[in-house]
Amino acid sequence: MAALHDSGRGMSQGARNALPMILFLGVGFAAPLLAVIAYSFMPERSFGLIHPPTLANYVEVFTGNSYISFFWSLLFAAMTVCILAVICYPIAYGLSRVFGRWAPILTLLFTIPLFVSENVRLYGWILFFIKNGVLLGTLKSWFGIELDSWLFTRGIVLLGMVYVYLPFMLFPMTLGVSMVPNETREAARDLGASRWQIFREVELPLSMPGIMIGLLLTFVLAVGAIAEAKVLGGQTIIPITHDIEIAFTYAQNWPLGAALAVLLMLVVGTLVLLVLKRFDLDAILGKR
């Protein structure tokens, strides 16, 4: 063992073992991120990183109307998360009560749609909602009811987002609810608690880690959503991700796109940190 300690050139064994991972993360994760941040300080429409840094892109973002896209992205992400929480908690609760230990594994079935490309699934919804499609066509031919298509409305965008991100909420939530030991429920009941009191005092706080992870995961994913607004929404709302894409492609203005991306990261990162500060996952999990 002495030889191992001597050859380290001041590096601990743990650090040396972590070296491949550090390199991998450095090249694959940190470097692109740093590049984006660097680009955000480059002059308009430049493609290199050797220009003197400038704040012009940020000035343009704040003086322009990107805030509308930010607003739509954050609003729709927040709404998606709220709707998913309301839908998924009862499902997770039912699954864990009925299937017990097997519930999280069963929940994996809900992720099977993820094997199909998101765009393909969204086009499926188009076929469902399009005029003379599955829904409206059936209503028309069977009941003679003729309705306007709901496609390309804000409601449909929300539906698409709820549909796409459901597994990401349901899985951690089911794990969280399954983590509540049944005997704590029984003990609370035995000590006189009503169903609602058991939920509030025992089940909700004990399943909080799963719920928090679900909320954060779906929020972060939903803020980055783009396909739902494009495919189902037909541009009724323009999310910030769309602005970023435009800046990097049609507009050929990488620095502006980079500045938007950096701001989005800052906004989401701040929100996540605030939530994590408020809900200490370790404390909820009982690690301290």
Partner: protein
């Protein structure tokens, strides 16, 4: 113990799972303030029984009568009883204080009175006052036991049920907690109904013991009755190492061993006894010098000896039959393996049981 009005009466209480009767027609009266222990091996239905009493399982038939009122259909949260679980079922996201205060919070008692009660309970359970703000996850096994008991006592139940709460605790601490529990029973004067698979544990704590097998109560009695007058082979063997000899009574009212040639002198024969077992506790068997030194004497070979703390146990083999002799350490005999020995016991120290 003195005759007191029963607080809990069970009348042919039965719980069936399909065709299996996990609890099979139990009749039992438990007196107010009594420490009653139900002992049985795993699968004997004792946990199902106590879960029915606490309201976590629905009885299939029969009555549970608490203070004269039938409570079969009362859900657990409406029963004035409380259970200490095998897993303790403490709330891991709460502090010691919050755990103890839980039943008070549910009752809507104001925080100040709650805290006062919790601190008093900490004191009663020999836990330091500063544990009030400690996370239950940072408590040791024994401390958690005390917190679970304090939480149950905070509920102020008419009866406290215990579902083997000490089974996961190491021997030494278990012995301490058993005694503490008995002290707390004395201090609170509450009725305790305790479940365990260890008759030894039951002996230490209980006023009365009910031995359970296959959903039925085989014998109910004081620890002394169970120890000195077991009703059958099952109860006698449950008490730990014991010598059991299958015997038959022949026409001339003599008791003879089934597996070897020997006639035994016994103090009394139960009514209508024909076939059964002769039970002799190992501490009543002694090494003797001649066949005249005890009412019953057998010759065998010493196979091995085991040191059991304050006692020493000897295994003596007579043909295929194994006998156990126990002595206090200070009276240990200097014997060698395979040495031929005479073992004996007196007629008054053996018990004839049917079955």
């Amino acid at each position: 113990m003195s005759k007191r009005a029963p607080i809990l009466e069970l009348k042919s209480l039965t719980k069936s799972f399909g065709t299996l009767n996990a609890v099979d027609g139990i009749d039992l009266d438990i007196a107010e303030g009594e420490f009653f222990t139900i002992v049985g091996p795993s699968g004997s239905g004792k946990t199902t029984l106590i879960r029915m009493l606490a309201g976590m399982e629905q009885a299939t038939s029969g009555d549970i009568i608490l203070s004269g009122k039938r409570i079969n259909d009362l859900p657990a949260n409406k029963r004035p009883t409380c259970m200490v679980f095998q897993s303790l079922a403490l709330f891991p996201h709460r502090t010691v204080g919050e755990n103890i205060e839980f039943p008070l919070k549910i009752k809507g008692i104001d925080p100040e009175a709650r805290k006062k009660r919790a601190l008093a309970l900490l004191d009663q359970l020999r836990l330091p006052q500063n544990y009030y703000d400690k996370s239950v996850l940072r408590c040791s096994g024994g401390e958690r036991q005390r917190v679970a008991l304090a939480r149950a006592l905070a509920f102020d139940p008419k009866i406290l049920f215990f579902d083997e709460p000490l089974s996961a605790i190491d021997y030494k601490l278990r012995k301490t907690l058993e005694k503490e529990l008995k002290d707390i029973h004395r201090e609170t004067g509450k009725t305790f109904v305790y479940i365990t698979h260890s008759l030894e544990e039951a002996m230490v704590m209980s006023d009365r013991i009910g031995v359970m097998r296959s959903g039925q109560l085989v014998q109910v009695g004081t620890p002394n009755e169970i120890y000195s007058a077991p009703k059958d082979k099952f109860v006698s063997e449950f008490m730990g190492d014991v010598n059991v000899i299958p015997v038959t009574m022949n026409g001339s009212r003599t008791i003879t061993a089934d597996t070897f040639d020997k006639t035994f002198a016994v103090a009394s024969v139960p009514d209508a006894f024909t076939k059964g077992h002769l039970v002799i506790r190992p501490e009543f068997v002694r090494f003797v010098a001649t066949s005249k030194d005890a009412d019953n004497v057998l010759e065998g070979k010493l196979y091995n000896e085991y040191a059991l703390g304050s006692r020493i146990q000897y295994q003596v083999r007579i043909g295929e039959n194994v006998f156990i002799v126990e002595k206090l350490r200070q009276h240990s005999s200097d014997l060698k393996r395979d040495q031929t020995v005479l073992i004996g016991w007196d007629a008054k120290d053996s018990i004839l049981v049917t079955g």
